[in-house]
Amino acid sequence: MTARCAPGPVTRADEPCGAAPRRARAAAGDGAGKDAEDGRGMRADIVLHARASDSSVRALLHELRAGLAGRGVPEQLRGTVEQAVAEALNNIVEHAYGGVPGGAIALEARIGARGLRCTLRDRGAPLPGHAPPAGRPPRLDTTPEALPEGGFGWFLIRSLAQEVDYAREAGTNRLTLGFDLPAPAPR
């Protein structure tokens, strides 16, 4: 349990998950990283931190995309992951932290043989009803003047991720998005 994110009070405001930096060192170390594995054999390959602001989110996404490329994730999946994670991060900035800049956001990405999972943590307001929205498609059967200028975020997340898991744990929002790697071509 040493590498688990311990729910409960976090004294340093920039670390929603106190265990995250240790995971980063384990993953970046000699390659053993034993305590950074979860039950699926996925390692915390990428650990990134951001502050609640549009520019910090943009910088985190840039690092995430570069990190995925450096670990051999196919380009198409990198785009899918960046899109879904971007929408989730925008929601954290805009809704969980209510547009107030500075709140801490942590991202862990694990890459396994069959897929990739990104876990986002923040200490802002919980999702309404403590559940991720259904993400209904935008209503386009309307006049041009009434076309929606927003509300696409959860629809895109639901469309792009094969797994969406949310929990509110001791004042921390944890959102995990799972993505399947394309199946290898049969030999």
């Binding site: 549009d54 520019s55 989110v57 943009r58 198409q76 785009g79 899918t80 960046e82 899109q83 971007a86 929408e87 925008n90 900035v93 805009e94 498609p137 935008p138 386009l140 041009p144 003047e145 076309l147 929606p148 200028e149 927003g150 509300g151 696409f152 975020g153 629809f155 895109l156 469309s159 792009l160």
Partner: protein
Amino acid sequence: MKLHETRHDGISTVTVAEPRIDAAAAIRFKDAMRSITTGGPDHVVLDLSQVLFVDSSGLGAIVAAMKQMGPGRRLDLAGLTPDVAKVFRLTRMDSVFVIHDGAVRAGARDAG
């Protein structure tokens, strides 16, 4: 937000010279589009060939740019890169806009 406009045969082609229209850029994009389209041609083609990423805020800003042009005017899109095309396809926004394969073709079409 860097936008470049060229006019040809009554069509304004606006090229977005930045790689992202995201939450950090959405409002600046919308404002820049307002100043560039106000008083200009009724037919505008937005060249997105240099844009690699559009999030829901950016998508909303493109819709807003179209709406703020007012009735009787038209905003087409051109040069969508793969990830941007996917966002328009998933949200079905590709049914709202006329989307050209390439910006040059859309702008030069009337010139033959």
